[in-house]
């Protein structure tokens, strides 16, 4: 039951084979069983049970709201949830209970979705491993010893396609020894908890957030679909910001079709977020199969970068070949400013972080230390205790960049570079490219011990390399799992398209998804 897609489980609910409460109970059981993976910061069991009961009666009375009605979901702990603690994995907000729902949470609720819990993340989404959290790190479910890799493919009807397009054989299933107690494969980040929750069948969909790759990176490592929609398509109201000009709510699901279901529920103008686009959102419709032979696929050279693993490269070229075989025009393109994206991002990120974090002063909400010598001392002590070293470091750097004497040298310069990166994309689109195909990450999921051997800043620089430019340009990007690595871990690829062309992006993603037929985990054990 737990490995079904939203469309499949929804059909079962509609047929009366299952009640939302049954699904909710199974998911809560799964969450309990997989507790050691540390995907949840907080399970909202009571809320979920009430919501599931309500959905039960809707299904009984035939007032079904939409495909998401009665479906268990989870949200990252940086979405404000009414009367439910929202910590951003920071001591600063450990006691913070918002008095409102984020627009994304409200829309899920209005659609009838059942909120199962709040997911773990790096503190204030600053990280790419979900290791820097006051709640401890989240662990990848792959090779965790908790599930077996299923030989049953979700898209078993497409076996013929698979034979035709032939990927190199996956490593023998489960051949890799499960990892030791104190070392495991990381979930990726910063939305690691959300990715694990979806991959493990604990929920059918989860919300992450994506500023430099925070949805796509863990989705890639956990073998699920991670969609970063166009900037301005989904409301950020109630999403505690990292970098306002790049943050977007991210969607994590097990299939592209499920991502479309979520997107159709979540997208649209929000009067509470002035950066959402005002045009009416036309729901995506992928019912028609696309003609892949009419597509032009760009392969940007600059994404072939130092540190990229052979397996990732091999996967990348295999999928490119598949597309070519199917008749698509696959062309190499150049996006020369790609390598500058990380440096540019680190300036813009830190400036906005310095600004956004200024409100955490212990006065109106959140942590307040016992310091009582003066207001200034109170600020200093609250902020040094409430934020981890990474957050404090970025605040310091950001304030330095924003000083009057440095502003044009750093901030203005970074804005210029950002524009150049966006122009790289614009040039590619105007040359007739429909989508870009790139790796999502440079390798499969690293082990925890290996990951923490480099500091947060270094890790972000290499982890975000392929995902970050899309945030600069605001264009939509999706990561889909392709195959398993030798270690038995997911290898994923990223597709990007022109802003607001999610329809085309996801249609191509779904075509690839059906062809590569990524093996899914056997979840109901």
């Amino acid at each position: 039951m737990l490995s079904l897609s939203i469309r499949q489980i929804s059909r079962k609910l509609k047929d009366g084979a299952l009640l939302p409460s049954d699904v909710c109970a199974a998911c809560l059981y799964q969450a309990e069983k997989l507790k050691t993976l540390n995907m949840f910061v907080r399970l909202t069991k009571e809320v979920a049970e009430i919501q599931a009961k309500e959905a039960d009666s809707r299904y009984k009375n035939g007032n079904i709201r939409c495909l998401l009605d009665g479906i268990p979901v989870a949200v990252k702990d940086n979405y404000c949830t009414l009367n439910v603690e929202t910590t951003c994995s920071s001591q600063m907000l450990e006691n913070f209970k918002p008095q409102y729902n984020a627009t994304m949470v409200q829309k899920l609720q209005n659609a009838g979705a059942v909120l199962l819990g709040k997911c773990n993340m790096d503190e204030f989404a600053m990280g790419s491993g979900t290791v820097d959290s006051i709640h401890g790190p989240s662990k990848n479910i792959w090779q965790s010893g908790k599930c077996a890799t299923s030989i049953e493919h979700v898209h078993s009807v497409k076996v013929k396609c698979r034979e035709f397009y032939q990927l190199s054989p996956p490593s023998s299933k489960g051949s890799c020894s499960t990892v030791e107690e104190d070392d495991w494969f990381i979930a990726g980040g910063s939305s690691g908890g959300s990715a694990v929750a979806v991959a493990s069948g604990t929920v059918f969909a989860a919300l992450g957030s994506d500023t430099g790759g925070s949805t796509r990176n863990p989705a890639a490592y956990c073998g699920v679909v991670g969609l970063k929609p166009s900037y301005g398509l989904l409301s950020r109201h109630g999403l505690i910001p990292l970098v306002n000009s790049m943050d977007v709510p991210g969607i994590l699901t097990r299939t592209v079709d499920d991502a479309v279901t979520l997107l159709n529920v979540l997208a649209g103008y929000d009067p509470l977020d002035s950066t959402t686009i005002r045009d009416d959102f036309i729901p995506l419709d992928l019912s028609q199969d696309i003609d892949i032979s009419k597509m032009r696929i760009g392969i940007p050279q600059e994404y072939h970068c130092p540190g990229i693993s052979d397996e990732v490269l091999e996967t990348w070229s295999e999928v490119a070949d598949i597309l070519e075989k199917a008749g698509a025009e696959v062309v190499s393109v150049s996006m020369p400013h790609t390598p500058s994206s990380i440096a540019c991002y680190s300036v813009l990120n830190q400036c906005e972080v310095a600004s956004n974090m200024a409100r955490y002063d212990g006065i109106e909400f959140g942590l307040r230390t016992a310091e009582n010598r003066s207001t200034e001392e109170l600020y200093a002590s609250t902020r040094s205790q409430g934020f981890n070293e990474i957050v404090r470091g970025r605040i310091l750097a950001g304030n330095y960049f924003l000083l009057q004497r440095n502003y044009s040298q750093y901030f203005v310069q970074a804005l210029k570079v950002r524009r150049l990166i966006a122009q790289d994309f614009a040039r590619v689109w105007s040359s007739g490219i429909d989508v870009l195909l790139t790796p999502t990450t440079l390798t499969d999921a690293p082990r925890y011990s290996q990951f923490i051997s480099r500091d947060n800043r270094e890790q972000c620089a290499s982890q975000d390399y392929c995902t970050q430019p899309a945030n600069m340009a605001g264009c939509p990007a999706v990561t889909i799992p392709i195959k398993l690595s030798k270690q038995g871990l997911p290898l994923s690829l990223q597709l990007m398209s022109q802003n607001y062309r999610e329809n085309l992006l996801l249609a191509i993603a779904r075509w690839i998804e059906s062809v590569v037929d990524f093996p899914h985990l056997e979840l109901d054990i």
Binding site: Y79, C80, T86, C88, L93, F96, P98, Q99, Y100, A102, R236, H237, G238, L239, I240, P241, V243, N244, S245, P271, L272, D273, S274, T275, R278, C351, E352, A354, S355, M357, A358, R359, D361, I363, E364, F365, R368, N372, R373, S374, T375, E376, L378, Y379, N399, L402, L403, Q404, Y407, F411
Partner: protein
């Protein structure tokens, strides 16, 4: 909700949230109530304070003629609006502490600003009235500093590209007894920007703590930055007065300085003629129009005194203290701040529709339309004054006074509108001299005045047709104040107050006075012409002030010169 410690001095704090529901009084600015009497003082400078001030000014001007002062103003005007600049919370003044606070105003994480369209319209309207260039695109910036009344740690303002730039404000400077005639002064406006207000701190000295009231946080403000074009306190006060007239006329700001709805900061420096500009100080906490004049004057004098005694003026922020009538350093602002300005990423650039942009497709219909607003501009005070001078032929001084006091202007239009034949100058004099004097004498204000334009118009008619003289006119006004329900003409009729204009009757009275006062006549003939007034007074007394005094003077003169020559 919010309790913090006070400044640097105290070492105790108590987080008692219930205290927050308590009503607290307004405590930011020292408020002086003299603005309401402004016009009265100008007309009748009976107050010894003003007299002292004027003499001082003249004296000081002589001793420091080689010093020149440079004054520039920054005005924060609260935009009249029912909701805040970026949130839906209410704005009414004096609301209970922390009641007009939305989640955004308290900087609750995840909340975002949504720009209030009405505030943009008010800003554009004001910019147009001040001849500013409205920018088709302006942007919002974050100005960072840590202070407990600033919940987000930054203020959203317009620093790099404001709503409007390069305007000018022309105004009359006219203090009777200081200036013989009004003179016209102009101050350029560097920029007009929209920004949010901060909250307020309430210092509880006894409990050694501070409380935060966020009801004011996020209230919409227009900041007007004027170029340093002024030279003294009176010019600064006159500028503020004119600005208030314009904003009230537009309805974009209540301008109630006592409520902090209009706040004036003055940048002041002095230098010797021909030398470079001096170091400037900034004076804040100025609570009324007269306080603008006093604070600037005090600060100029202080800087001159400092420099003449060999001291140096430091770049600092000072506060005007109404009680001690001096500027004092503000300790809080000692450190020079780097505000680390950054564009506000949650607000797209603010676009307004300018002339001829209607055809551009990507500009949405919901943009504020500048041309539409231009057409909505009401008659501005400057235009009203010109109209009064050109159309009614009244003096510039009178025009300034009428326009400065809207109630007087309404009466003027009422009087003139009823009968075109009425003499505008006579009507103006009745309003400016007689009406204000009688109100002042009876300690009444124009707002609470019992006079209707109709009854004032009758008094004008009675005077113009010479039915009564000025003394009777004053008596009529006093009757109205005392509650006499009859109209002035009814009173004249009933009490027989009509003016004696019959020359034979006046001749008879004059002859009688000359005969009854042989000593005065003797003195007059001996060259003591001053006694003439006594004789006139006697005639007035006998006729119970009803005689046409011009006629009396003429008849008496004729008769006396005959006696002299005989």
């Amino acid at each position: 909700m919010t309790v913090i410690y006070n400044g640097r001095k105290y070492a105790f704090a108590f987080a008692i949230t219930t205290l927050f529901t308590r009503r607290c009084s307004f405590c930011t600015t020292n408020v002086s109530t003299d603005s309401g009497n402004f016009i009265l003082r100008k007309v009748k400078p009976s107050s010894s304070q003003i007299a002292r001030y004027t003499n001082e000014a003249i004296f000081k001007n002589k001793t420091r003629s080689h010093w020149k002062a440079v004054v520039g103003l920054e005005v924060h005007a609260q935009i009249t609006s029912t909701s805040k600049l970026f949130s839906g919370a209410g704005t009414e003044f004096g609301a209970p502490v922390n009641t007009n606070v939305s989640l955004f105003d308290a900087a609750i994480p995840g909340t975002l600003p949504v720009l209030n369209r009405r505030c943009v319209e008010a800003g554009v309207l004001t910019a147009l009235a001040l001849s500013c260039r409205v920018n088709p695109v302006s942007v919002f910036d974050r100005k960072h500093y840590f202070y407990a009344d600033l919940p987000a740690g930054y203020q959203i303002t317009q620093h790099r590209l404001p709503l409007a730039q390069e305007g000018e404000l022309e105004f009359h400077v006219f203090i009777p007894d200081v200036h013989h005639k009004p003179y016209i002064k102009k101050s350029c406006i560097k920029q007009l920007q929209l920004e949010q207000d901060s909250g307020k701190l309430l210092h509880d000295e006894e409990a050694c703590r501070s409380l935060v009231d966020l009801s004011r946080a996020g209230i919409p403000l227009m900041e007007l930055v004027f170029e340093p074009d002024l030279e003294d306190g009176e010019e600064a006060a006159a500028l503020v007065k004119e600005l208030i007239l314009i904003l009230q006329c537009l309805g974009t700001c209540s301008c109630k300085m006592e409520e902090g709805a209009l706040r004036v900061d003055a940048n002041v420096s002095v230098h010797r003629e021909g030398e470079p500009l001096g170091v400037r100080s900034e004076v804040k906490n100025i609570g009324s129009i007269r306080a603008v004049a006093h604070a600037v004057k005090y600060e100029i004098d202080r800087q001159v005194r400092t420099l003449e005694s060999g001291g140096v003026v430091v770049n600092e922020t000072r506060a005007w203290d109404t009680d001690s009538r001096q500027t004092v350093p503000m300790r809080d602002k000692e450190e020079k701040q780097d505000y680390r300005y950054m564009p506000e990423p949650n607000l797209p650039p603010l676009r307004v529709l300018l002339n001829g942009q209607h055809a551009i497709p990507d500009i949405k219909k919901d943009c504020v339309n500048v041309d539409c607003l231009r057409r909505k501009l009401p008659e501005l005070p400057r235009e009203t004054r010109e109209k009064l001078i050109n159309q009614y032929g009244i003096s510039a001084e009178s025009a300034v006074i009428l326009v400065n006091e809207n109630n007087l202007l309404k009466h003027f239009y009422g009087i003139m509108g009823e009968k075109k034949s009425r003499d505008p100058k006579l009507s103006t004099n009745i309003l400016i001299m007689e009406l204000l004097t009688i109100l002042n004498k009876n300690k009444l204000s124009l707002e609470t005045s019992p006079f209707s334009s109709y009854s004032l118009g009758e008094v004008v008619d009675l005077l113009q047709s010479k039915k009564v003289n000025l003394v009777t006119a004053r008596k009529l006004l006093q009757e109205i104040v005392s509650g006499n329900p009859q109209s002035p003409s009814e009173m004249v009729e009933k009490y027989g107050w009509a003016q004696i204009t019959d020359s034979s009757e006046i001749e008879d009275v004059c002859t009688a006075v000359i005969e009854q006062n042989p000593r005065l006549v003797e003195q007059f003939c001996a060259g003591k012409t001053k006694v003439f007034n006594s004789l006139v007074g006697k005639v007035a007394k006998i006729t119970e002030n009803r005689a046409n005094m011009a006629l009396v003077v003429k008849v008496l003169r004729d008769k006396l010169s005959k006696i002299q020559n005989s």
